[in-house]
């Protein structure tokens, strides 16, 4: 039995009374995540990632289709499903009335977990929060609040851990701490579902990936298969002026840096020749292996997968 099963999940937001069309946020999304997987859910803003996670977590309801957590329907059998889920929400929310320890004790209580102090202490130390245990939530920095959110999600030792962009706006140190800890939990058998905008994180951590585009799954593959499916190489260089339009359309441009996906040496030569003909000078030329970001851009532009 899969740890998570999304079965033809659709979500339509009705048109607002003051006008505008109804919005189809998810359109028949189906995939399974097996127990123990480290699974990445990728897609641009507005692709439906957070909507899908909200439906999984019971914060929202699917218009049709269903979601199962270890076989428990998140609507019909919500209590059992939610006991198995630990969700780190995307928004940086906190309850200003309580200290870190109180927040974790209260969260344990909601799940009916009694005498949880040992595990709470372990969470606090693993996430670098031990010296903040008695600080009020209001006094914590953004990064510290994010750590508490992670601890709150894990307080009942859920079998499935869901992280919705947990590293957005987070410093390097916390990312390191967080991923070490989550990787350890994953090794112990916890299933992890991650959404992130940092594709290098997804490439490094996730064994399998789904990519969402406008509410539909456009790629569902192991990370290594996805990387193989991309053009194998990327030509990267810097220019000081703008590229001609037909060249720019094929490139990924970040400020002065221009990158072209290329299959072989002939293509690379052609690109360089085209740049020279346009009267531009390519500097710092290099050729590198394609990474997940290249795959992502290809998939999103509809070129592959």
């Amino acid at each position: 039995m899969p740890a998570l099963s999304f079965q033809s999940v659709s979500k339509t937001y009705p048109a607002k009374p003051q006008g505008g069309a109804s919005l189809k946020a998810l359109d028949g999304v189906s995939f399974d995540i097996e127990e123990g997987e480290f699974f990445g859910l990728l897609g641009p803003n507005g692709a439906g990632k957070t909507t899908l996670i909200s439906i999984l977590a019971g914060l929202s309801r699917a218009s049709s289709g269903r979601v199962l957590v270890h076989g428990h329907d998140v609507q019909i059998d919500y209590a059992q499903a939610r006991r198995l889920l630990g969700v780190v929400p995307q928004e940086l929310v906190f309850d200003p009335f309580f200290s870190v320890r109180e927040a974790l004790q209260i969260q344990s209580g909601y799940f009916g977990v009694k005498r949880n102090e040992d595990w709470i202490d372990e969470l606090l130390s693993s996430l670098g929060l031990a010296d903040k245990a008695n600080a009020n939530m209001r006094q914590l920095s953004g990064g510290m609040k994010r750590r508490v959110l992670v601890a709150q999600a894990l307080v009942h030792k859920p079998r499935v851990i869901v992280l919705d962009e947990p590293t957005a706006g987070v410093d390097v140190e916390l990312r390191q701490t967080l991923w070490q800890f989550i990787a350890k939990l994953n090794k112990q058998g916890h299933t992890v579902l991650l959404t992130t905008h940092y594709l290098e994180e997804a490439e490094a951590l996730c064994g399998r990936l789904a990519m969402l585009k406008q509410g539909s799954v456009v790629a569902l593959e192991t990370t290594s298969e996805l990387l193989k499916s991309a053009s194998s190489n990327v030509l990267r260089f810097k220019v000081d002026a703008e590229l001609p339009a037909e060249l720019a359309a094929k490139a990924r441009i970040t400020g002065r840096i221009v990158q072209f996906p290329a299959q072989n040496a002939i293509e690379i030569e052609q690109y360089l020749a085209a740049v020279r003909q346009a009267g531009l000078k390519a500097e710092d030329v290099e050729i590198r292996k394609a990474d997940l970001e290249d795959v992502f851009l290809q998939v999103m532009s509809g070129a592959a997968a």
Partner: protein, 251 residues
């Protein structure tokens, strides 16, 4: 503690941590009402022929404080959690709609009754009170607190902004409590206003509560009990239904 007890505990801890604002302030307000109205009206108004005005006023103020604070607790807790976004911590748990209902209503009752006791202790010090039928006092205090706690839950679910909640409080709850006979016996009103007062469920809560002190009231305490009990059942059923459907909190 199991789930709903934890939510109850959290809600009590929430108002307890700011008890200066949530308990002391409403007690002070009620005492001011008593001092001012008692001073102005003591020698002008006699109720039920023999009861001095201040003695009549005290149970009304106690009940008004119970009702307003029970309402304030669930409604302000919910709207704050919704706006801060931290309601998600409760939404993600396996707590059922019944657990939500009992935890929020019980914590609101706790606050309402705590404020009521405070008002009672302070104002009772100024004027001797009788206790003709203490059981009625308890019954109406508990039922009234539960009813307003549930109404606060509905208002907190419904409101999306603080000013919507303030409107509900200022245009519904406050007028209904003030016009329910806190400050006067409705027998002193012209017939039309007397009849109108009979349509206000808050009137029965305060009238029944007062019966416990004086053994006299505008209507029989059994009628008041029936009205308040029915209102509590209806509002509770509606509240549980809203919670079950996830009205405005589960998208």
């Amino acid at each position: 503690m199991n789930g709903w007890q934890t939510l109850f505990y959290k809600e009590v801890l929430r108002f307890w941590k700011v008890s200066f604002q949530t308990i002391a302030a409403p007690v002070l307000t009620a005492v001011l009402y008593m001092l001012i109205f008692g001073h102005v009206l003591e020698n002008h108004v006699k109720v039920y022929d023999s009861v001095p005005y201040t003695a009549f006023l005290v149970p009304g103020l106690v009940m008004m404080s119970v009702l307003q604070n029970a309402f304030a607790n669930s409604s302000s807790s919910l709207i704050q959690s919704k706006i801060m976004g931290n309601l998600v911590f409760v939404l993600l748990t396996p707590l059922s709609h019944w657990s939500w209902f009992f935890a929020y209503v019980a914590s609101s009752m706790t606050r309402g009754l705590a404020v009521g006791c405070g008002v009672f202790l302070v104002t009772g010090w100024f004027t001797p009170l009788h206790y003709e039928a203490p059981l009625w006092i308890l019954v109406f205090a508990v039922l009234g607190a539960a009813l307003l706690g549930a109404l606060g839950l509905v208002a907190g679910l419904w409101a999306e902004k603080f000013d919507q909640l303030a409107a509900f409080q200022n245009f519904v709850i406050v007028p209904m409590t003030f016009l329910s006979g806190v400050f006067y016996s409705i027998h002193s009103l012209p017939t039309f206003w007397q009849q109108l007062s009979h349509l206000n469920p808050f009137f029965y809560m305060i009238d029944g509560f007062r019966f416990g002190f004086f053994g006299q009231s505008d209507v029989s305490p059994w009628i008041s009990l029936a009205v308040v009990g029915t209102a509590l059942l209806l509002v509770s059923a509606a509240t549980v239904k809203l919670l079950q459907s996830g009205y405005k909190i589960r998208n």
